[in-house]
């Protein structure tokens, strides 16, 4: 990026980040589509795989930059849809784990799908 663009882009970055922060003040600040998508991927990982860290998520997601993925993970942490648990054997490692709210979210999604597709649910 050319040096002359840096000061302007810096103010623009601040503006976007400030607006994003202000938006989070709202009690109606729902999950963004990207956060919802990320949560879906995390639910699959919690179901099928071994424990994982934020770094694992950042490196495995090829669709966005690591910093963008990190920001979305933090968004989920802030909304109580994920939490960090320190590895008792290595306190440097913190695993991303579901919360009670995540389980409630998944349960409601399942109920919603069962209502939409009762035949499939019975099968």
């Amino acid at each position: 990026m050319p040096d002359r663009l840096l000061p302007s882009s810096h103010s623009v970055l601040r503006l976007f980040n400030l607006l994003d922060g202000i938006r989070q003040l709202s009690p109606f600040s729902a999950l963004s589509p990207e956060e919802e998508q990320l949560l879906g991927r995390l639910v699959l990982r919690w179901h099928g795989q071994a424990r994982f860290t934020i770094s694992d998520i950042m490196h495995d997601d090829a669709s966005s930059s690591p910093s963008t993925v990190y920001r979305r993970v933090v968004g989920l942490l802030d909304k109580g849809l994920a939490e960090l648990h320190t590895d008792p054997n290595d306190r440097r490692i913190r695993y991303v784990e579901p919360t009670a709210l995540t389980r409630e979210y998944v349960r409601r999604m399942g109920e919603g799908l069962a209502d939409l597709f009762p035949e499939a649910h019975r099968a």
Binding site: N17, G21, R23
Partner: protein, 186 residues
């Protein structure tokens, strides 16, 4: 225009815009919340405090300079005619959010470009700005022998600034979150 001159011109424009925003919101506060005045310098609701926090977060020292200029324009005649107040009151108005921002960034590691800014940072910054402004304002008034009922004065500024910031930011937050929801469902 050389790059340095262009940069200076942009800085001056930023300062003027902030000063203008301060004056407009100050007048709006007089129109809407003058009934909450507690003393010559304090209100129980003071919405220009939102201009302080936004200006400094977006523009740093340029924002603070704009606040000083704007506060100078909105000085009451009694203060404008008394040199210590004419200088110290606008300067404290500009420095308070700058100090609060600097302190918050040291405390939380918040980046200069505000990457990772969360709602809790905004609330924390709002309270820090309110407390810092109260501290500096009351220090100035104490040193100039102008303050009476110190504790009430201190509390009024903290409450007034914090309430003013939230009154401005909450509707904006609702607007931004509803706008995003509408965009994602269409």
């Amino acid at each position: 225009m050389t790059p340095d001159l262009a940069r200076v011109a942009r800085s001056m424009l930023a300062v003027l815009i902030v000063a203008l925003a301060w004056v407009i919101v100050f007048k709006l506060n007089q129109l809407l919340f003058d009934g909450t005045r507690n003393s010559r310098w304090t209100h129980w609701i003071f919405i220009p405090a939102a201009v302080r926090i936004i200006a400094v977060m977006l523009l740093g020292w340029r924002g603070a300079a704009g606040l000083v200029l704007g506060a100078w324009f909105t000085l009451r005649p009694e203060d404008a005619g008394y040199l210590p107040h004419a200088i110290a009151l606008p300067v404290s108005s500009g420095l308070a959010p700058l100090f609060a921002m600097s302190m918050w960034r040291r405390l939380t590691g918040l980046r200069e470009d505000l990457n990772g800014l969360r709602a809790s940072d905004i609330v924390g910054l709002a309270l820090s700005c309110a407390v810092m402004n109260s501290a500096l304002l009351n220090l100035v008034l104490t040193l100039t022998g102008s303050v009476q009922r110190e504790l009430l004065q201190i509390v009024t500024v903290v409450v007034g600034d914090a309430a003013g910031i939230m009154i401005v930011l909450m509707p904006l937050a609702l607007l931004l979150s509803l706008r995003r929801t509408r965009r994602t469902t269409s």
